[in-house]
């Protein structure tokens, strides 16, 4: 598609759609007839009432939808007391994190959003009209929620600085030339997690047992992502190895960790694993839980990467061999880069489910977002519906944005097109 046409489409000029079917030579290609612009009434007839069956379907689903909307409206705006969220919001976000140390979390949040803006900034195109509408709606909802739930103006101000950090990052990203930008992006994301850890823990920081609320869920998911990745690669290579001992070992590890649910593994980490470790070791519960979760996640990553490796064309192996590369370099420089690129969508999918799985940590007495939303106290007894809906909404927003980001990445990288 030529730049001119892309520009037109972006500006929402659709009147000349048929021009898109004109190839460079100017020969007219036969295409499906261009649909006449419809009036709203025609649209309704065509999409909702095109036949008796379709009409009944529309009426039934419309009735169901109205019932749900009616109930939801009552729940959100009329029948529920949302004060519990207002009172508890700090607990949901960071739990018992010491108030004096909260700047560590804000700082980390700014760093992450600024880097996100830096990475995403250059890919932002002029938005379509629909995109603007969606963005405005999201912004209004976000302002309303934050404005309602925040406990002080200081918090509102600090929260308002988050999109600002994103914007600053995006602007910096746009003016940085492509070469340095890619380097900063890569190293930024690799170093971000250790950096956050230093900000949180370093300089008389906050120990892991005080990490609670949503903050805990995010940290646990990040630990899972960062730590399980290298182990997953090793296990995947092990499973593809020609050495029977290594292959057998990898298969056993992968299948055992994948075959047993994470809840059971977390309980294993708290109550069973101590028996098998030297008594003097005495690791904190949360470290053991992180290790076990990492192995669980690595087993899944190994299977994803194995799929990617199997998808690499055999000609690539032959070419590498023809160049005289030894196995380690063939894998490291030829096979893995291609395999990893192909697995990006599956990998993000796994990270989303890992993030959702962090809700299971309440099984071992960690006060994560879900757990704290179930601790209501006497004042708010019986208001689980509100707190659970709030927790679900928070989980949803993060998981949903990750999946949208994954879709964008997929189209940009053209996975599955080469």
């Amino acid at each position: 598609m030529s730049d001119e046409i892309r520009d037109r489409e972006m500006r929402g000029l659709r009147e000349d759609v048929s021009a898109a079917h004109l190839p460079e030579t100017g020969r007219i290609v036969e295409t499906a007839p261009v649909k006449e612009p419809q009036s709203p009434l025609e649209w309704v007839r065509y999409n909702l009432f095109s036949g008796p069956f379709n009409s009944i379907l529309t009426l039934v689903t419309g009735f169901l939808l109205l019932t749900v909307v009616y109930q939801a409206f009552g729940f959100f705006f009329l029948n529920s007391d949302w004060r519990v969220i207002q009172v508890r919001v700090k607990g949901y976000m960071v739990g018992g994190f010491p108030l004096d140390e909260l700047w560590r979390i804000w700082l980390s949040l700014y760093a992450v959003t600024a880097l996100a803006g830096f990475s995403a900034g250059p890919t932002i195109r002029r938005p379509s009209r629909r995109g603007i509408v969606v963005a405005v709606v999201v912004a209004v909802v976000a302002v309303a929620i934050v404005g309602y739930a925040a406990q002080s103006n200081l918090v509102r101000l600090l929260a308002a600085a988050v999109p600002l950090a994103f914007a600053v990052g995006a602007v910096v990203g746009r003016v940085t030339p492509r070469g340095p930008r890619r380097k900063v992006r890569l190293w930024g994301w690799i170093l971000m997690f250790p950096l956050v850890m230093v900000v949180i823990r370093g300089f008389d920081g906050v120990p892991p047992r005080e990490w609670e609320g949503l903050f805990f869920n995010l940290i646990a998911a990040s630990v899972g992502i960062f730590a399980s990745f290298p182990i997953g690669i090793l296990l995947a290579l092990g499973r593809r190895s020609t050495l029977p001992a290594v292959r057998g070992f990898s298969i056993v590890v992968i299948e055992i960790f994948r075959g047993v649910p994470l809840v059971a593994w977390l309980i294993f980490s708290k109550f069973v694993v101590d028996l098998m470790l030297p008594p003097q070791l005495n690791l904190p519960d949360i470290i053991k839980a992180f290790v076990v979760m990492t192995m669980f996640s690595a087993a899944y990553i190994a299977e994803i990467i194995r799929g990617g490796i199997q998808g690499v064309h055999s000609g690539q192996y032959e070419a590498a061999r023809a160049l005289g590369l030894p196995t380690s370099r063939m894998m490291g420089f030829i096979v893995l880069p291609q395999a990893l690129r192909a697995t990006i969508p599956a990998m993000i999918g796994h990270f989303i489910s890992l993030f959702k799985d962090t809700a299971l940590f309440s099984a071992i007495a960690v006060t994560d977002l879900l757990d704290s939303s179930l601790r209501l106290g006497l004042e708010f007894l019986g208001q689980e519906a509100q707190t659970l809906v709030f927790a679900a909404a928070v989980f949803w927003m993060i998981a949903f944005s990750m999946s949208r980001w994954s879709q964008r990445l997929e189209t940009r990288l053209g996975v599955g097109e080469r």
């Binding site: 999409n47 909702l48 095109s50 379709n54 379907l57 529309t58 689903t61 419309g62 169901l64 939808l65 050495l243 029977p244 001992a245 290594v246 070992f249 299948e255 055992i256 075959g259 047993v260 649910p261 809840v263 059971a264 309980i267 294993f268 109550f271 069973v272 101590d274 028996l275 098998m276 470790l277 030297p278 008594p279 989303i352 959702k356 799985d357 809700a359 299971l360 309440s362 099984a363 879900l370 179930l374 689980e384 519906a385 659970l388 809906v389 927790a391 679900a392 989980f395 949803w396 998981a399 949903f400 999946s403």
Partner: protein, 376 residues
């Protein structure tokens, strides 16, 4: 030579680590005066379980209560994967419906449900929906024969008399007869082209033989209608709130994923197939039923198998709402008897073997529906 030496060294390291773990375990257990053995499993369990599909009392053994846990988890899985498949297939088809409203609702369902943790959903269903329906005394009555309350729900069931087993033989005979009649009608249709009415014929035969059996044996069973008891619903087939919570939560969750798989698989069936079916004059429902879905199923099956495996493992989330499934019961067993290692090894074994069984069964199905003569 080097390869072999390397592997031996690798195995040696693994063996040393495992041995170290074993020595640590026996040492620490020895300090507490215990040893590694499964003998305790034969002793009295001593704790009650609210819900069991096989007979159980606290006087039975640990083995017994362990099997209760396994059957409880299997019961949820069995009922759940059937329901999730039906709902998921419906969602997948709805997402491709020409009806704009239905399509958008299905899309909204999938986008919302997929991105909320299953555990949050199960707890929501259990705490905010099921426990919020009326108490036992004010149960919702459905024509006085079925009840829904926050202590569970119950529908009428068959209560077998003395001749129930004999009637079972009649049912078996009825099934065989129905099958033969169906074959006969198919042959008639193939040879003469007369309308076959297969379904009417075979179900009629089945009902006839079963009813004859009922009257020959003289009331082999009666219908038992549930009643509101002092603490629970009595009689009938009932489900507990916990069972319902796990089941509803996981069905709703898994169906969203199955819906996406079905949608993808329908899109993967080449467009010409649908056009050909249309050209043959099949109605939209028939196109789907006879042409598109059978082919889509072939594409979908491996991914759906994965969802079934996930469902089986996700029954462990019942732990959080005290449904007596495997994690929950093994926790109680550990509290009663200690022996953490032995009990956890049983847990691993049972999760892995059921997963293997599901994969195996689905492989058989896959072989059944795969294209004949094509090696995959």
């Amino acid at each position: 030579m080097l390869r072999i030496a390397g592997q031996v060294l690798f195995l040696l390291v693994v063996a040393i680590v495992l041995r170290e773990m074993y020595l640590n375990a026996t040492f620490q257990l020895g300090q507490r005066g215990r040893d590694l053995s499964y003998e305790f499993m034969d002793s009295r369990a001593g704790f009650g379980v609210k819900e069991h599909f096989i007979s159980y009392t606290p006087n039975r053994s640990f083995w017994n209560v362990f099997w209760v846990a396994v059957t409880n988890a299997l019961a949820v899985t069995g009922a759940g994967i059937v329901l999730a498949t039906l709902l998921g297939t419906f969602l997948g088809i709805a997402r491709l419906s020409p009806n704009w409203l239905l399509r958008k609702i299905a899309q909204g369902y999938v986008e919302i449900i997929r991105n909320i943790p299953a555990l949050v959903q199960i707890i929501f269903w259990y705490v905010a929906v099921i426990l919020a329906i009326p108490r036992l005394q004010d149960s919702i009555s459905i024509f006085g024969i079925a009840y829904i309350s926050n202590r569970g729900a119950a529908v009428p069931s068959l209560r077998g008399g003395d001749d129930f087993g004999a009637w079972g033989l009649f049912v078996l005979a009825a099934l065989i007869a129905a099958f033969l009649v169906r074959r006969w009608r198919t042959r008639v249709f193939d040879e003469t082209g007369e309308p076959h009415y297969r379904f009417l014929w075979s179900s009629g035969t089945f009902a006839l033989v079963a009813v004859i059996g009922y009257f020959v044996l003289g009331d082999p069973w009666t219908i038992e209608v549930p009643e509101i008891g002092p603490r629970n619903l009595l009689g009938g087939i009932g489900v507990s709130p916990e069972f319902a919570g796990v089941l509803v939560g996981l069905v709703v969750y898994t169906a969203a994923f199955i819906g996406e798989i079905v949608r993808g698989s329908i899109l993967a069936v080449s467009k010409g197939q649908k056009e050909a079916a249309e050209a043959l004059g099949l109605k939209p429902g028939q196109q789907l039923r006879y042409v598109v879905l059978p082919q889509a199923m072939r594409v979908a099956l491996p991914s759906i198998t994965n969802q079934y495996l996930n469902f089986w493992k996700n029954t462990s989330l019942g732990f959080f709402i005290a449904y007596p499934e495997i994690v929950n019961i093994t926790r109680t067993m550990t509290n009663q008897a200690g022996h953490e290692l032995e009990i956890f090894s049983l847990l691993i074994a049972v999760y892995l073997s059921v997963s293997l069984a599901i994969s195996f069964a689905m492989n058989l199905v896959n072989r059944g529906i795969a294209l004949k003569g094509v090696r995959t």
